[in-house]
Symmetry: C2
Subunit: 294 residues, 2 copies
DNA sequence: CCCACCCATCTGCGATGACGATAGGTAACG
DNA sequence: CGTTACCTATCGTCATCGCAGATGGGTGGG
């Protein structure tokens, strides 16, 4: 195998134009160069690629036809390598590790990842879902490059963040709960029943505060939703959790005079590792889709 | 893109051995050549591929890791091209057009084609099934390269042939036919009932001769089998047709004192176009599988 | 401290491959 | 039937590229 990529490129060009001289003109070479290059390629491969009937445009032989496909593929692959190098040169990531809060709404995230796969086909992805504290922890431990979480107060200083959108909280109880009969409730009524509150170990996380004396606590919106389904109390939950097909028919939305502020979805990353093109692209995608979602 | 296939090969070699000098030794080059080649490749791509910490073996950078995969793929593709050229140089076909008698038993043919696809992945196949005369006609008209048919007397002289195996004929009738009650029949009894005979326009084809005065004729074993199912007569059919799952439960095999000679399966091709490697390989495959089938 | 080993760099040289010119051949046209 | 306008193959010349070998800096082991 003594032949060149250049020879393959010439081969493809000549085959497509059915002319040696035309290929030479297009590729800014002397006609003789094309002629000898093809001749050498044919010698190397041990096969005639073109039928030269003088005066008639050169025609591919049967072997030439078959090898043209192979040559095209080699050239294509070489261009791929170059394109990949260009991307990497511009800081494109090889691997993007995304950590997200497990309660993040799925549709916009999955849509964004699908689009990302199209825009950066060579990018390798690693996904991790975790409870609220996990996302920041993974970023700090350099186990993730990009995080998707709900804004809270205890954000470490090493992390940069950007708000993407917000998700409203609603007050819900189970269909069999005493409050289910009421359409409008005020804070005093809520205080009389058990509250199911999402509270990670540290306070300062979003999701609302304790209202009455009876409170069960948990670290997951989904776990709390399950408890609500069993009429163990009322809860404040993000609207997308309430509207999950699994929960929706059995949950009752209450109109109350007060609900916690909406959850703010934030993108988070290490201040000392600036985002590459893929991460920035993904951020934009998240932003627009979350906006459409909210 | 000024880099070379050679540079890529060096890159892969160096990465696999984690050593410039080792790669130089293996590829019979001077160490300096490897060093400069990699340096030039890095300059072309605009990226460092290796981390050279003096004394420690060179380690791939993250970009190097990613580009190594791309480079491997380019080299692999180039080798594919060369292998293909070698095959074509040895007369390997680009396209193989097989024409077969529609009554040919499927399992051995399909098994052989499956094996062919494995042995010659790049080969393009075109299949055609036809009645008995069609196979030879297609070969003569250069619409097929290889034929699979049952031996008969009117084989054109332009065609070469090779016997692959034989398939026994059996005497059958439908379950509701008067003969179905008999286990053994002789020629005189057969002559008293309608015979369903496979006879293409020209005589001299295999499948038996007319026995009694009442005969229906057709050009397909399958059409005749359908008539037998409807108790319209008895027939001589190849054993593999009789044993088709569709027919088997409703057909009755008769033991008779005489049946036509077995069908001889033959491979046929044009004398003026010698078979290529793929065709010869397929012929061997047919032969062994038909032998196992019979 | 010396030796073995590794990688980068420099220099000289040879093979490779480009160019331009030339030759030969076909098709269209007057 | 010559002329013209193409096309491709071949040849001679020459620059360039990239190899080999030598050199030097560096590291780790005996």
């Amino acid at each position: 195998m003594r032949w060149n990529l250049d020879q393959l490129r010439l081969f493809v060009e000549v085959a497509e134009g059915a002319s040696f001289s035309a290929a030479a003109r297009r590729l800014q070479r002397a006609q003789s160069a094309v002629s000898t290059a093809i001749a050498l390629l044919e010698a190397d491969l041990g096969l005639p690629l073109f039928e030269r009937s003088s005066g008639r445009p050169p025609r591919l032989t049967e072997a030439g036809q078959a090898l043209l496909e192979e040559a095209r593929e080699v050239v294509r692959q070489a261009q791929r390598l170059d394109a990949r190098a260009l991307g990497l040169r511009q800081g494109e990531e090889v691997l993007l590790r995304l950590a997200q809060d497990e309660a993040m709404p799925y549709p916009p995230v999955l849509d964004s990842l699908e689009a990302l796969a199209q825009a950066f086909p060579a990018l390798e992805m690693r996904l991790a879902s975790g409870a609220q504290g996990d996302v920041a922890r993974r970023l700090l431990a350099r186990q993730a490059d990009l995080g998707l979480l709900f804004r809270h107060e205890h954000m470490p200083a090493e992390l940069e963040r950007r708000a993407l959108g917000s998700i409203a909280m609603v007050t819900v109880c189970g269909a069999g709960h005493p409050l289910a009969a009421r359409t409008v409730v005020d804070r005093r009524e809520l205080a009389r029943h058990r509250q199911l509150l999402v509270t990670p170990p540290q306070s300062g996380y979003p999701g609302g505060e304790q209202v009455g004396p009876q409170v069960w606590r948990g670290d997951s919106f989904y776990a709390m939703a399950e408890l609500v389904l069993r009429n163990l109390g009322w809860a404040w939950l993000p609207v997308h959790v309430v509207q999950y097909p699994t929960y929706r028919p059995s949950l009752v939305e209450l109109r109350s005079d007060w609900t916690p502020p909406p959850l703010v979805v934030e993108l988070v990353w290490r201040r000392d590792e600036p985002l590459g093109p893929a991460a920035r692209w993904l951020a934009e995608c998240f932003a627009t889709r979350l906006a459409a979602f909210g």
